[in-house]
């Protein structure tokens, strides 16, 4: 028996790579009748280095920023061929290729109403090039281009709200997920696939190298992001908040202290307070707090 026929063993992701887990869960949930269009990034590099491919489904990579547009062309061709109803199309990329350089292509795909699921694997920086800051890097994160220093506590801007940007396009399904909650992730992909039209799922996918934690600590780290309110898990169906993962909020410090990228903040209560405010706002906005 083959290990995983749709996303095969033998790829060269780092040990404990969150994106590798998420990518396999996504394609296994979507099934074999799926065509995947991939942006440039870690996932593309570690899964399709010639002459190997991890992908048991039809898969194409073109450029850093154009998966949403290439997928639009694939979808249009499938409609022309009368095969669209039998085939899912997934466009995917990392946070930089989705929310920064590829945002225009993504917006175009959403606005045109293509029947495509876009998946953003959000590891919160440009990991493939060496942990540079992206628009989705959280506030105060230490990256190689937003380094902490004598007059810096890391990334000066809050995380770009790409799910909200997608939501503003009036698309039928927007969700966030996390590798810390694999069953929830799979369920959301299946649900998205069942809905016609453009869909967006953003998956918080830990990067042991860039976040600086041990590879076996992926789960507690990913879970804490959700449990502190820093990475709210929610689902919007037709513009209405249809689901969220409720939490008994933990202080953000518990999450921050698990990773080297936040180490510089641990003796800086002022900065931690600002990050706690971000979590508190999320908790309020999405009504995350579980009443005990």
């Amino acid at each position: 028996m083959e290990n995983s026929p749709l996303f095969k063993s033998g790829h060269t992701a780092c040990a404990g790579c969150g994106q590798a887990i998420a990518a396999r869960l996504v394609i296994e949930a979507a099934g074999a009748n799926t065509i995947v269009v991939n942006n440039t990034g870690c996932l593309e590099v570690f899964s399709t280095k010639y002459p190997d491919t991890a992908w048991g489904v039809p898969w194409i990579h073109s450029l850093f920023e154009n998966s949403a547009a290439v997928a639009s062309g694939v979808e249009a061709a499938l409609i022309y061929l009368g095969k669209k109803n039998a085939t899912n199309v997934i466009a995917q990329g990392g946070d930089g290729s989705t929310g920064d350089i590829g945002l225009q292509a993504l917006s175009g795909m959403l606005e045109r109403g293509h029947d495509i699921l876009y998946v953003c694997y959000d590891n919160e920086a440009y990991m493939n090039t060496g942990v540079q800051r992206s628009g989705l890097t959280p506030f105060d994160t230490n990256t190689t281009t937003s380094p902490a220093g004598a007059q810096s506590s890391g990334n000066i801007r809050p995380k770009k709200p790409v799910p909200e940007i997608c939501l503003a396009h009036g698309i039928p399904y927007v969700a966030t997920a996390s590798v810390g909650f694999p069953q929830d992730l799979s369920r959301k992909v299946k649900k998205a696939i069942s809905i016609k039209g453009p869909k967006y799922i953003q998956i918080h996918a830990s990067c042991p190298l860039g976040w600086r934690h041990e590879s076996n600590q992926m789960l507690p780290v990913a879970k804490l992001a959700v449990e502190t309110g820093l990475y709210p898990l929610f689902e919007y169906e037709n513009g209405v908040l249809a689901g969220r993962k409720q939490i008994i909020p933990k202080p953000v410090e518990e999450y921050l202290k698990t990773q080297g990228r936040f180490k510089h903040l641990l003796n800086n209560p002022e900065e931690i307070k600002k990050i706690q405010e971000i979590a508190d706002n999320n908790i309020k906005k999405y009504n995350l707090k579980l009443e005990s």
Partner: protein
């Protein structure tokens, strides 16, 4: 069927006849009329195609890349900045060996912004791995699109083709054009059967990372295919002639009064019509002048150029583009064609004309012949206005 139509409409008519499954484009002057007409044809149900309105040329090229990878015939058109914005996708399409056909309505490049014709846009993308053919008139522009699909989809080729036609001069020019009938088109251009495609029945991965162990061969293969294709073109041309009765010979160059010529201008595109008029006029006066028209610029037909010009004493290369800081683009190729060869022109001068839509008149061509003397010149600008130039900056 002969029609008196605008060039853009004629192109839309022939694209309709090729029945692309996916069309995607972003508006840019002077390409717009082509895609507007195609959109209307789809709206009228005259053409069964997915017309994808995109948010940029980058996405237009990406959409046709995706459509082609999924196994259908595709079409896009652009111009100038649009082509430049597409650039990385343009290279990508060739690297992925996808038989995309694109019209480039040739237009100048910013800055300063200028919507009028020259050939700087497509010429700047000469290294992309696309065939580039340049039409002289709208009949050719129409016919070259049919030939483009035949060539691109040839199993030995599988490379994209850019059909270049001078913006406004051809795209907006009214001419009588014989628009091929559907039946004949079907005879010449069979339905597209991809060699490889994204298909859930037989999954493959496309666009993989090729490290130093594998990358070079991808480039070598395109280079060799381009060279081999020079030979395929005459076969395709012969078949085209058999169906449509128009003979483009080897599709590489057109020799016009070159056999005994003492002075020959080398040029590309619609300006050749003007040059032919001057050649006729001078020939009538007994002057031995001629024109060598480059039809296929990529791959460049070095051997044909050599044969055509080897006994011509003086050659003037007329470029409608520049390579700032170097010899003009076509001039470089012509000089290269003779390097290390026994025969060849004593003088190969290079002239630049018509940038940013400045008219190349009959007088401009006369001026080129006048300046083609024993003294070789390089990138000599024709019709320049010295009164606009100053040595130092000032308002």
């Amino acid at each position: 069927m002969k029609e008196f139509v605008e060039g853009s409409h004629a192109i839309a008519e022939i694209i309709k006849a090729t029945q692309p499954g996916v069309i995607s484009a972003y508006p840019i002057t002077p390409q717009t009329h082509i895609v507007e007409d195609l959109a209307q044809m789809v709206a009228n149900k005259e053409l069964n195609s997915q017309f994808v309105n995109v948010e940029s040329e980058h996405s237009a090229a990406s959409v046709v890349l995706g459509g082609s990878a999924a196994g259908v015939r595709v079409y896009t058109a652009t111009s100038s900045q649009g082509l430049f914005y597409m650039q990385e996708v343009v290279f990508n399409i060739a690297g992925m060996r996808l038989p995309v056909v694109m019209t480039c309505a040739n237009r100048a490049i910013s800055a300063p912004i200028n919507i009028w014709n020259d050939q700087q846009d497509s010429i700047s993308l000469r290294d992309a791995g696309w065939f580039q053919v340049y039409a002289e008139d709208n009949q050719e522009a129409v016919d070259f699109h049919l030939i483009a699909y035949r060539l691109a989809e040839d199993k030995r080729v599988m490379l994209p083709v850019m059909v270049c036609m001078d913006g406004f001069i051809l795209t907006h020019g009214m001419e009588t054009v014989d628009i091929p009938e559907q039946e004949k088109v079907n005879k010449f251009l069979p339905a597209y059967k991809p060699l490889y495609k994204l298909d859930t029945a037989e999954p493959i991965s496309m666009g993989l990372l090729a490290d130093p162990d594998y990358y070079m061969e991808t480039r070598f293969a395109i280079q060799e295919t381009m060279k081999e294709s020079i030979g395929y073109l005459s076969g395709i041309s012969k078949e085209f002639n058999a169906v449509f009765g128009r003979d483009y010979k080897d599709l590489l160059v057109e020799e016009y009064q070159t056999k005994d010529a003492e002075k020959v201008i080398v040029a590309m595109g619609s300006v050749c019509g003007t040059i032919k008029e001057v050649v006729d006029e001078q020939r009538a006066k007994g002057k031995k002048v001629g024109l060598l028209r480059i039809i296929t610029y990529r791959p460049f037909p070095y051997a044909r150029v050599y044969e055509a010009l080897k006994n011509v004493p003086k050659v003037a290369v007329l470029d409608k583009a520049v390579s700032l800081g170097a010899y003009a683009p076509i001039a470089v190729e012509i000089k290269a064609a003779f390097y290390g060869k026994k025969k060849g022109p004593k003088v190969a001068s290079s002239f630049v004309a018509g940038l940013g839509g400045r008219d190349i008149t009959l007088e401009s061509i006369h001026e080129v012949f006048r300046r083609l003397t024993v003294k070789e010149v390089n990138s000599d600008f024709i019709d320049l206005k010295p009164e606009l130039l100053k040595e130092e900056y000032g308002e």
